[in-house]
């Protein structure tokens, strides 16, 4: 007689529906354990070698531990395919957190360091005759406003009318060429735009020319493709029925565009222009080349050097004077003001897009 082997006792799962799966709290428990082990290892290493406790090392060790642990545990309980899925989930979440780290670090550094000079004197003084402490950024703010204003004056009409041409009139070779070259323009490095503005103005004024309007020309080279693209998108979104209804009533084409199409697309166009301005207001390289540095106020865009906010921040940090810390403080506060202006413009653009969008479907 063959000896019968008793089959291993069958274990009944408490809830058959959840058998073969990690519980919902499983990954979180593993994260907690990994963090604890990571902190312990990092503390041990710090204690043994005499260096400071490093949070970064603790988090890195915990992350690697978690990935290994979740894969192995899931492999045992759920099987290989689910284990791969959990591993990839961990990797992808880690990538997102990795992107947040420089953002948080940057913003907190600017806010902490920039608070040092965020006072009234900073916004009401220029750097004229200021050596060391004190001084302010008024000339840079005025310079930025003037240069950006002129860049907008140059690029917004050209951009909007080009978009009108591409959407309403263009069929054929010219519009294909314009579309292609607007695409090329999106790829111009900002410093090359500055060099072009310099070459253009050096033709008339000789070598060593510096003028605020040159900065405006360089910035408009960078703004035009953004304005054209976004206006084109907005104009294409206007339903054709509106145009055809207008033509059917005998309205000429130009009046249709001016009074029917443009007002409908206006919110989107204004949003696009505001975003283009936000992008261009922080450009340093072309202004470094053609607008130059100065410590004085200059209200005339067409004559002489003009200081702008990003160039001010760069200059103060890279060539500090006697009392270094005062220069660094001014640079950080200028950077903070710049970030605030850019964020404000972005928020305004989103508000305009939300509030003034044409109401769809009544």
């Amino acid at each position: 007689m063959t000896a019968t082997t008793t089959a291993p006792a069958r274990r009944e799962a408490a809830n058959p529906l959840t058998a073969g799966q990690l519980p919902l709290w499983g990954p979180w428990a593993l994260i907690g354990v990994a963090l604890a082990i990571g902190a312990a290892v990092s503390a041990l290493v710090a204690g043994a070698s005499g260096t400071d406790f490093s949070i970064v090392a603790a988090v890195l060790i915990a992350y690697v531990l978690y990935l290994v642990a979740i894969t192995v545990v899931s492999q045992q309980i759920e099987g290989g395919r689910k284990a791969a899925d959990r591993l990839v989930t961990g990797v992808v979440v880690g990538a997102f957190v990795l992107a947040l780290v420089p953002l948080v670090s940057l913003v907190s550094t600017v806010i902490i360091n920039g608070a040092a000079r965020f006072d009234l004197q900073f916004f009401t003084w220029t750097m004229r005759n200021v050596v060391g402490e004190g001084g302010g950024v008024l000339h840079a703010i005025i310079g930025t406003l003037l240069v950006t204003l002129w860049a907008a004056i140059i690029s917004v009409p050209v951009g909007i009318f080009t978009a009108i041409y591409l959407v309403e009139y263009g069929r054929g070779r010219l519009s294909q060429a314009i579309t292609f070259f607007v695409d090329v323009m999106t790829g111009i490095p900002s410093i090359v735009a500055g060099l072009f503005a310099y070459a253009l103005f050096a033709l008339f004024a000789g070598e060593g020319v510096r003028a605020g309007i040159g900065g405006a020309v360089a910035l408009s080279l960078l703004m035009i493709p953004t304005v054209v693209r976004s206006t084109e998108e907005m104009l294409k979104l206007v339903p054709n029925d509106l145009r055809e209804a207008s033509y059917a009533l005998g309205v000429p084409k130009w009046l249709t565009i001016a009074k029917v199409v443009l007002p409908t697309a206006l919110a989107g166009i204004v949003t696009g222009v505001t975003l283009a301005i936000a992008r261009v207001i922080g450009e340093t390289a072309p202004l470094l080349i053609i607008a130059g540095f100065t410590t004085n106020m200059n209200y005339n865009v067409f004559d002489g050097r003009m200081m702008t906010l990003p160039v001010f921040a760069y200059n103060q940090y890279v060539s500090p004077g006697v009392q270094e810390q005062a220069y660094f403080d001014r640079a950080w506060t200028a950077a903070l003001v710049l970030i605030l202006i850019v964020m404000l413009l972005n928020v305004i653009a989103r508000i305009i897009a939300k509030v003034f969008a044409p109401k769809a479907g009544r």
């Binding site: 990538a95 009318f161 591409l166 090329v184 060593g208 760069y314």
Partner: protein
Amino acid sequence: MTTAVQPVAKQRLADVVFKTVSTTAGVLILIALAGVAIFLVAQAVPAIIGPLPGIDGGFFAWVWPLTFGTIWSAFLAMVMAVPVAVGIALFITHFAPRRLAQGLGYVVDLLAAIPSVIYGLWGITVLAPFMQPAYTWLTQNLGWLPLFAPPASGTGRTILTASIVLAVMVLPIITALCREIFLQTPRLNEEAALALGATRWEMIQMAVLPHGRSGIIASSILGLGRALGETMAVAMVLSSSGIISFALTAQQNPSTIAANIALRFPEAHGITVNMLIGSGLVLFAITLLVNGISRWIIARTTVKGGR
């Protein structure tokens, strides 16, 4: 048989004026770009053909180390940025809770709104000191690799630090484009994979990634174009000596074309100005080539909708 006379609409003056203004605006863009090319070439020619004082080998021998530095730093930035960007895009489109997805996308886009001079300040004051102990450790323990050859940098301002800053700067661009691409995956393909019992990662492998592969490549190349032209962050973070070297953690680092122009132009005069403009032309040509390749890839793989 007489043919009926076709009625012709009256040409209104305002129509003609409006059309002329619009066409002129478009032509103005073409003229502006032609002007960019012509003026840059005109200013660069004296440096390209003429003898350069103090530099033997001519213009291209002078600009080659800068070109190497530009391409090497952009390559390093791409190696770091593309996998992370694809991971973030996958996270936002497929792994994150639906309600948070747009907010998370906006948070990543915040990285793109920050001006480059602020990245430079952050790179010098926060990132370089943070990475410096790691560089010392790498040169001590892995110094036999040419990438980590000693001596280690004392300030942390190496080509690797500059490339990390570049990677953070191009990350939001690639992420935004990849998000668009992943959202355009046909839902039926995704749902079919899930209905057949695929896990989320398998569904992504089967439906999302094959569909988005050319888009990922095209957006990466667009990001590469941006990294090639980035000036201020590299100018501030990198302590350069203009050499050609693959060492990532060393004291002597290559410089990039854009950073070199930013650092030397304010004080330059004479033939130096022409040389710098010539190097700007080389940079322009490289970015044109890179963007052209990206657009060619997009054009080749886009399904043309019916017109």
